[in-house]
Symmetry: C2
Subunit: 467 residues, 2 copies
Amino acid sequence: MSRLFFLLALSCLGAIGPVSAQASDDDAFAIRGLYDDVLTRSSCHEWLRHLCKRIGHRASGTGAYLSAVEYTRQMLDSIGCDTVWLQPVMVPHWDRGSVEKARIVQSRQIGTQELSVAALGGSAATPVLGVTGEVIEVHSLDELEAMRPEQVKGKIVFFNRPMDPKQISAFAAYGGAVDQRGSGPNLAAKMGAIACLTRSMTLKFDDVPHSGATNFEDGVAPIPAAGLGIQSAEMLSALLKKEAKVTVNLQLDCHRMPDVLAYNVIGEIFGSRFPNEIIAVGGHLDSWDIGEGAHDDGTGCVQSMEVLHAFRRMGMRPQRTLRCVLFANEEFGLRGAKRYAEAAAADKTRRHIAAIESDGGGHTPRGFSVDGTEQLLGRNFKRTLEWRNLLAPFGAADLDRGYSGADIAPLRPQDVLLFGFRPDSQRYFDYHHARTDVFENVHKRELELGAAAMLSLVWLLDTYGVQ
Amino acid sequence: MSRLFFLLALSCLGAIGPVSAQASDDDAFAIRGLYDDVLTRSSCHEWLRHLCKRIGHRASGTGAYLSAVEYTRQMLDSIGCDTVWLQPVMVPHWDRGSVEKARIVQSRQIGTQELSVAALGGSAATPVLGVTGEVIEVHSLDELEAMRPEQVKGKIVFFNRPMDPKQISAFAAYGGAVDQRGSGPNLAAKMGAIACLTRSMTLKFDDVPHSGATNFEDGVAPIPAAGLGIQSAEMLSALLKKEAKVTVNLQLDCHRMPDVLAYNVIGEIFGSRFPNEIIAVGGHLDSWDIGEGAHDDGTGCVQSMEVLHAFRRMGMRPQRTLRCVLFANEEFGLRGAKRYAEAAAADKTRRHIAAIESDGGGHTPRGFSVDGTEQLLGRNFKRTLEWRNLLAPFGAADLDRGYSGADIAPLRPQDVLLFGFRPDSQRYFDYHHARTDVFENVHKRELELGAAAMLSLVWLLDTYGVQ
């Protein structure tokens, strides 16, 4: 197919406008062309290489985050966005410090033994020599809450409920276990524990500790809290079955710093017919401060940039305004997402009709979740299902109602149709919030196939609009 | 769900027998139980570790292949098969030798430069000091065939057509390029070339050379032939654009050895109601002689073993006879597959109703291809499609007509319904026939999900039979 012919075909389709939602042969032909372009001419893998290998991790509040802002701003400029701007937002800054270690200091069977740990975001520091205490193992918040205060006071609480391997979706398995990390340390603190260890949120059997945010209620003094590698957790648990008393020393020197000015990065291509209707596509530019934030969420950022890039590269002028949004501070407060939604609500000249988030990793695409108010879904969900036939040849036809991402969720009350890009989930938690979340663990073609799936959905939304 | 209740539920389903092909809630419940069991109690990852790390590659004709025969025979015995036996077959033995190297020996721009190569199976050796010749680059067999004999005579032919990145299925991209490896050296030999280099069959941009079989017609004297790493191929091609004449030296000391006695390994669980109806599930036990044959096809072997293992572990007695077949010599002659089909045809007391092959890697499942004679498909394909609803919750619902594998293809004339397990294809050719096809590149959960999908299909075929 010649490039000229393809562009002519696309512009004819555009001229038809929002008359029919029926998947047509023309749509199939157009989407095939979008895939061809991304699979042969995309820049997203090279952008990701720069983000991961040149900048590295980009935690909220750090200088590296600002470097990533500047780099992505330049790239969005270079691909020919009509406008690129930075949306300021104050973000929290939690610093891991330089010490995080734990060891079993008293055990009849094995004497002392190192444990593999990573401080949780929001954790308090320990004194320089650490905190030392007896470990009590629990498997749920309920189990801890049912204990008597004197059983917990002065102890180190060890949450050790694994992610459920019977869940087919690793995201579902994560959702069923992550309360131990997000809320476990807070409950332990309220019950008088001196520290908290949480089994890492992964199904992989290794000893790489995983971090992630933990939250303390107002009025609860944070305690030291760390994620524990799976093999360390299994070893500690086995020891606790044999010995009545196992004592652990935990040393962390993380600390909360003052809030810092940061930015959402926004690139825009103006719509030709409905410039006041915005379709946003995005991921979060911040990461945790270990690894390189490759799958979480460098891939979502570069895929979103690639969507706009492809429109420009192919000479397609969208009917509606397309925005690439790279959110600040998803990992530790969602400040960027909240700021973005506030600004969107305040803009009375334009409104978001749809938003797509990619924050489930850069693995092989499976499809999209769809979310929104009941009325909005009532008008649009059935029609969206018809698009499955168009995405099926590319293996991205799973379309189900469901939560579509933390960064676009604040747009929901503004009657925005929300889509979450859904890649295959099996490998994501091997790397998530861990030192193994690096560029080398992202597969170029899988990344590009995801970008092409997102591009196709944006193209359909741009062509047919939202009702 | 208690285990007892689950087994009762299963045996009730069994008692209903082959009355309806309609996917029911009971079927969904049963398949959920099969997945739960495999995802929590499977042995297949440990079996694969042994095959790959203790035995290593298992090329046709080698002692390592016989070690793999003995190991898998023991494992099939240990899981409680009713009978396990070895089916003898004479197999070819091609030995790679210890030297395989290539270098550019004459170039104005870069002087000498090493190239990354792996001899193709069936290649001839070079003299000790190698063959040295001018390189001519072509992109297809047609292009070579259209050349004048004097343009080819005495030269080294370099096939350099990439796998097409626009193909969504990497298997399709492979199918569109592999003629250069399978038949290219034969054509080059017929036209008087002294050697042949073929761009490796992969979409990954690295310099790992990929091997694989090449075939010479009777009467054509084999020439030295090697796969060339992608970066080496790109470099050589770039050089040829700048210089009229680039000369390469290729050294290989591979050679064909006499045929050797080997075996297909077969484990069987007798059917309780229709013992004369066989459902076979298998992969090939041989591998290429670099890497560890992890994805090709250690994963298919251990998944097939796991299917029978799960029946035994869960105390399920199949209605039909279940066979796990580990085929000899898939890579270099298909002798095991032909022997198996001959023996199946000769057995007048029993017949195969269905066969499932897993030889597309151990990646995350997508579904199955279905093949067979027109009449057989006419009676069964529509019904099979109804099973998609049962496999959809597990992401394995792609069911399409299509070629289902080289090892079960010889059973087709015996009116056997053939299924090919289809995992996600994106990563397979990163490793295929290369030193990177190792245990560490197999993902435990993806492997198990594949075994569970195959188990579910076998369970459905056993429950409802073939019409």
